[in-house]
């Protein structure tokens, strides 16, 4: 399982990186990141793959139904 880097606040990691980059003082930047960023369990790869397969199957069925109804 991969780890997921996440923010404990509402902002996204991209926003966190942007904000941290604006801080000129090294200690301020470190303090902000240590208080904001954490790691948690990411989506398991197999699980993520299964979700994509099901989504693709549903799409295929919908497309097939649409085409069948038009024919």
């Amino acid at each position: 399982m991969r780890l997921k880097i996440q923010s404990v606040n509402k902002e996204s990691i991209r926003q966190v990186v942007k904000l941290a980059g604006r801080m000129a003082d090294q200690v301020d930047r470190l303090r902000y990141l240590r208080g904001t960023v954490t790691v948690g369990p990411g989506t398991p790869r197999l699980h993520a793959m299964a979700v994509w397969i099901v989504a693709a199957a549903v799409c295929a069925v919908v497309v097939a139904l649409v085409l069948w109804s038009k024919s």
Binding site: M1, R2, L3, G21, Q26, R29, L30, L33, R34
Partner: protein, 332 residues
Amino acid sequence: MNNNEVDNLPLGLDVGTSRIVVARNRDKTYQYETQLNAFITLPYSKLAQSLLEKESVFHEVAGDEIVVAGNDAQKFAEIFHVETRRPMLHGVLNPQEPHSLTVIRRIITKLVGEAGTEGRKIFFSVPAPTGKAEEGIAYHQASIRQILVELGYQAQPIEEGLAVVFAEMSASNYTGIGISCGSGLCNVCLSVLSVPVISFSVPKAGDFIDAQAAAVTGELSTRMRVHKENTFRLNGLSGDRVANALTVYYDDVIRTLTSTLRSTISSTQRLPKLDQSVPVVLSGGTAMPKGFLVRFEAALRAEDFPIRIAEVRISDDPLHSTARGALMAALC
């Protein structure tokens, strides 16, 4: 800044196998103080003790012996042509040395003094596990913490590799690989946005080079270390047998470090997705000889690496990097 404010400022402490370094932040500048983490013993006599006191040599009477510790131990070892004894081995308290805890306590007390204000913050460096076993890290960590708590500090451990990241990787938002090449161990940490993801240590480092080179040349390990720190350059084999021996064992350490780094990162299941390439920063006395960086980078890039590497560089201040990183953690 008055004395009360100075007495309350956080400290960073690098408890290394070879040296103990304290970092302070005064008026936005970092200041360092270092003591050699070594000692020698002399048979007790009143004359010897009064001479040491007269010369202000850092010593303590322990039963029928006088223990000379810190930087002064090196001078005495050279005078008497003996090896200094070491309170630490492979990054932790030396289990074969009965004086280890006493000497470490003396050196730490000399460097940091009493806290001044109860609960003053201090972060001290600890090694990461080598992967084989815990190898005394918990006992070592608890012992150093106890010494600092007795001095009135609120002490927190920080892994040495992470301290290097904190000291060196502000520009990459504390994302990258910090490596501290010390005497007992090479400590490695892969950090993402200041969060340590992988930490480990490799038990081949400066002491391994000294001991192996001393064994094949018939010299003392202490002499090897002095030669290594003063004049040695890592630029291939030459006519100098000591330099050749050091080169051979340096190459061994570099190969072991890079292959362990590659295999550990490749085999980990718990790696976050990294969108960008990451820097690698080397610090510690063992990384200081000229030519080390070139050889390390060549070994690292010789084969595919599991993550993209942006740059490989040596810290601007490799002997103080860990202490500075510990201080930054304490300041947060």
